[in-house]
């Protein structure tokens, strides 16, 4: 009752030249153990130091990669063929331009460093990154807190407001002790306490067609936490013109949405809504109200997408709009398409400069 293990050429010097070996076992793991027990030289080429399969070693049970089955626990039957298939990888030495991590930083980010998707490389990318957040309000609060905690090296914040008592129900980067102070100062103090390694760049101004290009140009990625349409269009247009990704989020009462607009790879905000609504048609949070937790959820999604973008992990929200309904506790997703007739990122754009609405 045995399984045939097919040995690839590079490993045959460890099997006395045999290209296949018959072994008994109930699972892939047992067959492998048997193989390495009889041919010990194979072990260091198949397994990592921790005993797990090397990531460039692929095992196919008959025609299926065991990763799509139950991995090494996959049961085997007599007559099955287990084939070892190499993945071939390599590449030039990486010229590391990202800053090194100090011992204290390695400790601080240890739970990130454990994740293969982040690791030292990703953490150094975060340290090298320059992120601009527009607004230090409901969305900007969780966003800037998580970005700072995650170790984003430089966080720019644009805001010109002061902390008001009505903000504290949701704007958790501020506190009672900073009431009346500029939001930038209040946020800077809290973020510096959370992570003193982060550089905060304060832009105490209202974003306009006059200054937006100049401010956004200095950053790798822009996160829009604004609550009004003129700024949202300004941020979108400046990002399209500068070729930067725009991590979008918005909230109203019990509902929120998020996406990543990046005209080089997908739609922009104007592909959805080519022009802003007339002033006063859509109520703001101040007029319509908002549940305090909601910006925490949407702002955290924005922080997540920003971090994923920087470290290059996972699937981004480019081309997808996530809709969240807090009362039903339901997420929905809409596919977004780039509009060839989009006035700023379409085939024949009509907008070439920023507009103050």
């Amino acid at each position: 009752m045995s399984v045939t293990v097919s040995i690839p050429t590079p490993l045959r010097s460890f099997t006395a030249g045999q290209d296949s070996i018959e072994l008994a076992g109930d699972t892939v793991g047992q067959v492998l153990d048997g193989l390495m027990a009889t041919h010990a030289g194979l072990k260091r080429h198949l397994l990592q130091d921790d005993g797990r399969l090397r990531n460039f070693v692929n095992l196919y049970l008959n025609d299926t990669d065991i990763r799509h089955l139950e991995s090494t626990a996959t049961p085997v039957r007599p007559g099955d063929v287990l084939t070892i298939v190499p993945s071939i990888a390599g590449g030039a030495p990486v010229t590391q331009t990202e800053p090194q991590l100090s011992h204290a930083e390695v400790l601080r980010y240890s739970r990130h460093l454990l994740l293969p998707e982040v690791g030292i490389g990703g953490q150094r990318k975060l340290k090298a990154a320059r992120v601009l957040t527009i607004g230090a309000g409901g969305l900007g609060s969780p966003l800037s807190l998580y970005l700072a905690a995650a170790g984003v090296g430089t966080i720019g914040i644009v805001d010109f407001d002061a902390v008001d008592l009505t903000n504290l129900q949701r704007q958790i980067v501020h506190g009672t002790s900073t009431l009346g102070r500029p939001k930038l100062e209040s946020a800077e103090a809290r973020l510096a306490d959370l992570n003193p390694n982060v550089r905060i760049e304060k832009h105490e101004t209202r974003l306009s067609s006059q200054n937006a290009m100049e401010i956004l140009r200095e950053y790798d990625i822009v996160v829009d936490g604004t609550d009004n349409f003129p700024t949202r269009y300004l941020v979108n247009d400046a990002c399209v013109l500068l070729g930067k990704p725009n991590v979008y989020g918005s909230i109203f009462r019990f509902e929120g949405q998020a996406s990543v607009f990046y005209a080089k790879q997908g739609p922009c905000y104007r592909c959805l809504y080519s022009e802003p609504p007339p002033p006063g048609l859509v109520p703001s949070c101040a007029e319509g109200g908002v549940l305090g937790v909601l910006p925490g959820i949407i702002g955290s999604i924005q922080a997540l997408e920003t971090i994923k973008w920087i470290i290059g992990a996972g699937d981004s929200l480019i081309g997808r709009l996530v809709l969240f309904d807090a009362l039903k506790l339901r997420f929905r997703e809409l596919q977004l398409r780039k509009d060839p007739a989009c006035p700023i990122c379409g085939d024949t754009p009509s907008i070439h400069d920023l507009i103050d609405y």
């Binding site: 050429t9 071939i88 990888a89 030495p93």
Partner: protein
């Protein structure tokens, strides 16, 4: 330790590897060295492969499914995989730590350095049995008449 086997390939094939490296620049190219192994390893054919790593220009990956397909096609021609080639954009033709970490024994790994878009040195490497390093293998580029 690595038995002293010479890898032989024609100058036309060496040029083909250089051209592939230049074409892929600033990203990396990769491909299979197919042929017959005996006293020497004779490369009979080059099979350019898809580089499945598109996220980082300093990496290459030949996926197992692609390789399985190529191996079975080669088997039909009574050829086997002798090794692989890839390029190092703006880096010398020497294996990186990442190359060594991912290398398989026995296979020949040809690396071509591509310096600002122009192919430079070309060298072949094999992994030591104890995985500690890759050592340079004797490479004979012969001219076809």
């Amino acid at each position: 330790m690595g038995s002293e086997v010479t890898l032989r390939l024609s100058d036309a094939m060496a040029d083909e590897i250089r051209r592939h490296g230049e074409l892929a620049y600033p990203a990396e190219c990769c491909g299979v060295l197919a042929g017959r192994a005996g006293e020497t390893k004779e490369v009979v054919r080059l099979v350019p492969m898809h580089n499945r790593r598109t996220d980082d220009p300093h990496r290459y990956l030949i996926a197992p499914d692609d390789l399985r397909r190529t191996i079975s096609e080669l088997r039909g021609c009574e050829l086997e995989v002798l090794g692989y080639y890839h390029s190092h954009p703006d880096h010398p033709a020497a294996p990186s730590g990442f190359d060594t970490e991912h290398a398989w024994p026995w296979y020949s790994y040809i690396i071509v350095g591509v310096d600002r878009g122009r192919a430079a040195e070309l060298a072949s490497w094999v992994l030591e049995d104890d995985r500690s390093a890759m050592s340079r293998e004797s490479l004979e580029v012969f001219s076809e008449v």
